[in-house]
């Protein structure tokens, strides 16, 4: 089961599920040295990650409990949960929340279907396999801001090829619903390749013989897909869904370029940004930051619960 290489030299001591060596007293000198080396080697990365994420998050919590407006620095004072009350009772938060949830749910759903289709094409195609894979990687590599500009121009009246298809006078980026769909389109275009590649890796795990056997037994293509491929790919699908959901939930670049959050298209990240950098209200902005952090935590927790053993991170102990 273990894919991990055994350390050179040391005799393989029995290992518990958590990867923890059994008993302090039973540790050989070599094993102790190995532990120390392991901690030592991980220390720089851990220190950096804690210093740049844990500390600022703590600081954000602290800031969120203050009235702290950069335009009136003299009036800073402790207000407890007041900022949270202000944010949660504001329609701006809830509008942005539903917009974000809508964009996340719809784009991830579309990406899953489209990504599966792309993955199947990449997996099965006999012609130009390399070309197709390279082409699919390009949207992944493209700077989001660049892609967003490309879409924005495409939908700009008198400039864009897509705007021309619409009746004259239509400016889809200035209407809430059409703009939301265009944001989703931009998001889907940019990130479907990522989904497709993760699914492609999952497809590679499906044994050819099993599919052949099912074919011989008379299973249709759809049955082979739903009864054999999907169950075997479940871990890859869940990982792809988790990554994409969390990523879509923090959507910022696309919206900033396409509509700047106008016409009711602002996501939570846009709301946080506006409060911090346009209104310069660090207290409210920090409260929004912390709330977004909590939302992401809830999403991740839900997924990990759903995943069970297939959760990323669980892999190490196997």
């Amino acid at each position: 089961m273990s894919t991990r290489a055994q350390p050179a030299g040391a005799p393989p001591p029995p290992e518990t599920e958590t990867g923890q060596a059994p008993d302090q007293a039973a540790l050989s000198a070599g094993a102790r040295q190995e532990r120390r080396l392991g901690w030592l080697l991980c220390a720089p990365a851990v220190v950096v990650m804690i210093a740049v994420t844990a500390y600022p998050i703590g600081y954000a919590v602290y800031l969120s409990l203050q009235r702290y407006d950069l335009r009136f620095p003299g009036q800073a004072e402790f207000v407890g949960l007041g900022n949270y009350g202000a944010v949660l009772s504001s329609p701006f938060w809830w509008d942005a929340f539903w917009v974000t949830l809508f964009i996340t749910a719809v784009s991830v759903a579309i990406e899953l279907v489209l990504g599966m289709g792309l993955a199947l094409v990449m997996h099965r195609t006999i012609f130009w396999r390399g070309t197709v894979r390279t082409a699919v990687l390009i949207p992944y590599g493209i700077v989001t801001v660049v892609a967003a500009f490309s879409w924005q121009y495409a939908w700009t009246p008198e400039l864009g090829y897509l705007a021309e298809l619409l009746p004259t006078g239509e400016a889809p980026l200035t209407e809430q619903w059409s703009a939301l769909w265009l944001i989703i389109l931009a998001e889907v275009w940019k990130t479907t390749p990522f989904m497709a590649l993760l699914l492609l890796a999952g497809l590679a795990l499906v044994p050819e013989e099993t599919l052949k056997a099912a074919m011989v037994d008379g299973a249709t293509a759809w049955q082979r897909f739903t009864k054999i491929m999907l169950p075997l790919m479940k871990p890859a699908i869940l990982v792809a869904l988790l990554f994409r959901t969390l990523d879509a939930f923090r959507i910022f670049d696309n919206i900033y370029i396409l509509t700047a959050g106008a016409h009711g298209t602002g996501s939570l990240s846009i709301l946080g940004y506006d409060n911090l950098f346009t209104a310069l209200n660090l207290g409210i902005g920090s409260a929004i930051s912390v709330l977004i952090f909590i939302c992401v935590g809830i999403i991740a927790f839900t997924f990990v619960k759903l995943f069970g053993a297939a959760a990323p991170g669980a892999e190490v102990k196997r």
Partner: protein
């Protein structure tokens, strides 16, 4: 039979063409825009009627863009090097050594990978202003390095688990010193993984927009994605469409080159951690 094979082949060709068009059309559109002169910008043609380098000359004539390009390259390169070095060391330990706390480390880095950057922007903004690294290279390098570390640790440890570490022992038995064994046997096996990770991290840093617009205020550290968003055009009455298109093409080129050259490895890097486990 031959006819069946032929329809089958045609179907795949059509599917492939659809996929390639889907992936490349928006890219082509912005390339075409960048080569149009202002007069024909709005003609809606997919191929410029009169090709012109005017937009490119325009952006390179201003310090705004050149400066941003230098910032982008410098900041992304430095952040990549640091993240990959720290990531390699940690991933080596994770893949190779037995020590408690390993799962916590992986869990923590995954947590950070999922972190909403906006949650860090407000405290970082204030902290960086306080210690005086706001609007500097270091001010961007630090968050980039941190957010790409989990990616580096995750992909590298997946790569490292595939390395047959016993070879090192074999080399030592054959009389190599530990340093030689590492340099001659393990390093060449690990290098492709490290290199792939470096590309992924670089793409990540190159791509960032939120930190770039939040933690900078002048040209001194603003990277290209942020600079493009603030382009104003050569006069205030002119839409900067052509300049933005040209700048967009310029920052896309390095990534396209990476993708074309290292397509296979990038796919391996993106997928190794996710499914093998």
């Amino acid at each position: 039979m031959a006819a069946v094979g032929k329809t089958h082949a045609t179907r795949w060709v059509v599917l492939n063409v659809v996929v390639v068009l889907y992936a490349l059309f928006p890219v082509w559109w912005i390339v075409a825009l960048s080569f149009k002169d202002p007069g024909t910008l709005t003609d809606g043609d997919y191929i410029p009627r009169d090709w012109t380098w005017e937009n490119y000359r325009g952006i390179f004539a201003t310090a705004e863009f050149t400066r941003a390009l230098i910032n982008s390259i410098g900041i992304a390169l430095i952040a990549t090097v640091i993240a990959v070095v720290l990531g390699t060391i940690a991933a080596y330990a994770v893949a190779r050594l037995r020590f408690p706390g390993k799962r916590v480390l992986i869990g923590m880095s995954l947590l950070i990978a999922m972190f909403p950057p906006i949650s860090l922007v407000s405290p970082l903004f204030n902290i960086e202003r306080f210690i005086g690294i706001f609007d500097t290279w270091i001010g961007l390098i630090i968050p980039y390095m941190t957010f790409s570390l989990p990616l580096a640790i995750y992909t590298l440890s997946a790569f490292f688990r595939e390395i047959p570490w016993d070879l090192e022992k074999a080399a030592k038995v054959d009389g190599a010193t530990p340093a030689q064994a590492f340099r001659l046997v393990i390093a060449p096996l690990a290098a492709p993984g490290v290199f792939t990770t470096a590309i992924l991290v670089f793409i990540f840093c190159w791509n960032d927009f939120l930190f770039a617009i939040s933690l900078t205020s002048t040209e001194s550290a603003r990277t290209v994605p942020a600079a493009i968003a603030f382009f104003t055009g050569s006069s205030q009455f002119q839409q900067p469409t052509g300049s933005i298109a040209a700048a967009a093409v310029v920052i896309t080129i390095p990534i396209i080159v990476f993708v074309l050259l290292f397509q296979r490895r990038i796919v391996a890097g993106l997928t190794s951690g996710a499914v093998k486990g």
